[in-house]
Symmetry: C2
Subunit: 210 residues, 2 copies
């Protein structure tokens, strides 16, 4: 069955949506989250502000969705040709826990230093540091879903006998995820593949002599 | 030899300095780092702006010193009676590495959730997320000196045979320091003594079965 082309109104909406996302991200980078307004986003996107209010209840909603959309674009851009993009960066399970974790952390390094990604990510993160309500949304919609992918991979490792059964995976993942996050957020050290590989080795093997 | 009372001008300067610190911290909490100005700090402290420029070359310098001063006040307030305050929160070395690390991390938990400390800390941290130049100052003057105390304690542990000799202490400390930092910065999970104790146990013992 041949798919009919989308009607004009749908195509126009999709185009507006993309323009609004782009405008929202550009504006938050330029003036910061606090000073970005729905009016400012609308003006920059060349749409009426009612168009925005029709689709999103608040500035936070537009920006979080714009950022989610950017993440998806990023995943599509880096996916190997012919390979389907997994919706939320599923963590591979090759049976080699250390290798799988290193693989995903290297991909995260790439994303964190990508200029297109970095500026809006920083603007959103900075707002979350001072605004508890916004942080709750960032955590529940962006951060925690990503961390839960590590939880799933660590649970599989527990079942396979590659990870201690008496540990809480939700805390365990922070031993290699949080150092990278802190270096990026606070610029407290350089970020590289070698660094994240080291974190995985230290976390799995432990710092105390065996 | 009886110490002479400080001359009026010195006492007046000390009072002005304290008023300027208080004004700087209050202002950055209220309007954020970007909108806080030397003029605003001077007006709030009841001093001329030349008084501030005589002592500090920039807004960043006033705020970083005000924050360092707050940290010292905090250390004095929580020090046991009769015990001298160590200048930079030296990490104890009782010979029990896990216990010493847990002790210091519990003190950090107390500080991070103290309302007097939290608001200015968040304002400074948020600015560092988006402003690389300011972040460099925060790291070199506030964060890295604290992390180097962990490096010293971990080196002592390596010499005592309590820590693997083949690891880099500057990275190793991040396994228990950074998770707490990320939960605080991004509000990605609750902070408690039990949590930081767990981080130390996981980091030292490792996540893989022994």
């Amino acid at each position: 069955m041949v798919q009919k082309p989308a009607p004009d109104s749908t195509r126009r909406s999709e185009k507006s949506r993309r323009a609004i996302y782009d405008a929202a991200l550009a504006l938050v980078v330029e003036v910061g989250y606090a000073k970005a307004t729905i009016e400012g986003i609308a003006a920059r996107a060349g749409v009426g502000k009612q168009t925005i209010y029709r689709w999103w209840p608040s500035k936070a909603d537009v920006l979080l969705e714009a950022f989610l959309d950017l993440s998806e674009q990023y995943a599509e851009a880096v996916a190997p040709p012919g390979q389907e993009v997994q919706q939320e960066y599923g963590i591979p399970d090759t049976g080699d826990l250390a290798a799988d974790l290193k693989y995903v952390l290297r991909a995260t390094v790439d994303e964190l230093v990508d200029p297109k990604f970095e500026a809006p990510s920083r603007a959103l993160a900075a707002e979350g540091v001072v605004d508890a309500q916004f942080a709750t949304q960032v955590v529940s919609r962006l951060l925690e879903p990503q961390l839960q992918l590590y939880v799933q991979r660590l649970r599989a490792a527990q079942n396979a006998g590659d990870l201690r059964r008496d540990i809480d995976p939700r805390i365990a993942l922070e031993l290699f995820v949080s150092p990278l996050a802190q270096r990026w957020l606070q610029r407290s050290g350089p970020i590289s593949y070698e660094y994240t590989d080291t974190l995985v080795d230290y976390a799995l093997g432990g710092l105390a002599p065996r």
